[in-house]
Chain length 307, copies 2
């Protein structure tokens, strides 16, 4: 069988842009990576993005372009609001710009949703109907997939669990609710707690290693982080009751046994009948961005055809 | 056009059993209501249920039976665990019992999910893709529908928001998590707070009337209830981002302006971009049980045909 359909997937981050050409079989035929140079502003980045897509797709008839990138953004309209790590972007109609330039459909979603779909389609969640992906990194994000489709929600904020309340402490973090999950368990919050307690670490995951080695302060911080994630996941379970939580992101993947540790605590906060019924596993795909972006574009085309 | 398909919907509650015969057009042709007499145990109630279904469907070829009833139950297997208001029920394979007796498919789901589907199909949520139904009654329950389908979740506990944590107070209610939504905002918790503060009321909604009349204690309790529901809905919004919350249940429907009051507070706890984008409305159907049970049975048959 000859593959006749080709797709471009884009992972547009604050540090790097990666583009890939994928065929029907899910094989990436060609891949490019360039520094984003985000400080040069939106015009510059969009021009670079156009060139990379052009080169990556050269010689192939492309069905659609899928892009995963930092929000806030409107996935329905392809409008990028003002991502923290893409300075100077403000209400950019990126979907329309690329669609007009390349004359193919272009779909955009936030990087967490795209990673969630990649894990739900080819990764740790591929055997489960309802997959909830959580990234524990500098910040905390999430993505919900049901039957290999991203649930974006009314305003595109489904899965934006940074802002759910998990703690009885009133820690106010950024513009989020007091006691928010991101304020209690993100990389930046772990570093804040470490610093407050005089613990010297460069990276958030080092606190877990210190705890493992018996440091009492680190053990206390790890307990707060594990408990906050466990409570957040219990809440999510009482709302959508996923078959699996897939845990990704720099902090969680740097700590061996992270998923098991969270799972043990999480089970304390859910109904007895739910215990040991919900899987908690680490993300499997080392690089879900391009793959997930293509799946997302395919999903959106199918949905449009269906509706 | 002659209607050729007929369905039985059952609303099996702790107080009454109601059965209805519905045609393709959604018209209820025949309806029965009997006291449950739950104290007489499961055998007695099931026998009564069989007779009522028999009589309600008499002379018609039935496609399927749908039943909405109190959980905990397993909607996939049609097994009733041990509902608080149906004493003596314990792991009853009700789906199999009725399927064998009537030789038609029988589907069971909890009363909240069934009410959610009724509101999503014919009620306040009928124009919205993602509908989250919340009942504020003696207890608190919920149901999530996406594109007119109930999301039951891995263990049948999607929408079971009684147990989500909304408060920094550690109030322990029943076997739920400390600070749970049900412990802060259900009818029984409102009565508990009223009693603790020496407020004499017979029914939970009277506290709202006293607050309206300026009673300081009642105002304080109402504030806790409104704030807890608002926080819970914010959390739900950051997980599934519904297009609408539909508020049902005895307490919420007895208080004029309840939905507006909750909405105003709720908007304080969600991202700015989400504000005024998510509807909050009172339930519209006075009696969603039978209608919802039929929709649920239809949905399950379609799903089985599809998978």
């Amino acid at each position: 069988m000859l593959y006749k359909q080709y797709w471009i997937g884009v992972d547009l981050g604050g540090t790097n842009i990666r583009t890939g050409l994928m065929n029907d079989a899910g094989v990436i035929l060609r891949e490019q990576k360039e520094p984003t140079e985000a400080y040069k502003g939106s015009d510059y980045v969009i021009e670079k993005l156009k060139n990379m897509i052009e080169n990556t797709g050269m010689g192939y008839e492309i069905q659609a372009i899928g892009i995963g990138m930092p929000g806030p953004l409107n996935p329905y309209k392809g409008i990028i609001m003002n991502p923290i790590n893409l300075p100077g972007w403000n209400n950019i109609f990126l979907g329309d710009i690329l669609k007009e330039h390349f004359n193919v459909p272009c779909y955009i979603d936030n990087d967490c949703n795209v990673a969630a779909l990649a894990e739900a389609s080819e990764g740790a969640g591929k055997d489960y109907p309802i997959v909830f992906y959580i990234t524990v990194s500098t910040g905390i994000g999430g993505g919900l997939c049901i039957n290999k489709r991203i649930i974006s929600g009314a305003t595109g904020n489904a899965g934006e669990i940074a802002n759910i309340v998990v703690s009885r402490d009133s820690i106010k973090h950024s513009f989020l609710n007091p006691g928010s999950l991101e304020g209690m368990a993100s990389g930046i919050s772990i570093l804040r707690m470490a610093s407050e307690h005089g613990l010297k670490v460069d990276k958030a995951h080092e606190v877990f290693f210190l705890a493992e080695a018996g440091n009492a302060t680190a053990i206390k911080i790890v307990d707060i982080v594990v408990d906050s994630l466990a409570r957040g996941m219990a809440t999510i379970s009482h709302v959508v009751d996923p078959h699996i939580f897939v845990l990704g992101g720099g902090v969680s993947l740097a700590v061996p046994g992270f998923a098991e540790m969270i799972k043990a605590r999480f089970e304390q906060y859910i109904y007895e009948v739910m215990r040991s019924q919900i899987a908690v596993k680490p993300a499997q795909l080392s690089d879900p961005g391009i793959v997930g972006a293509v799946y997302m574009a395919k999903m959106r085309i199918e949905r449009e055809a269906y509706e």
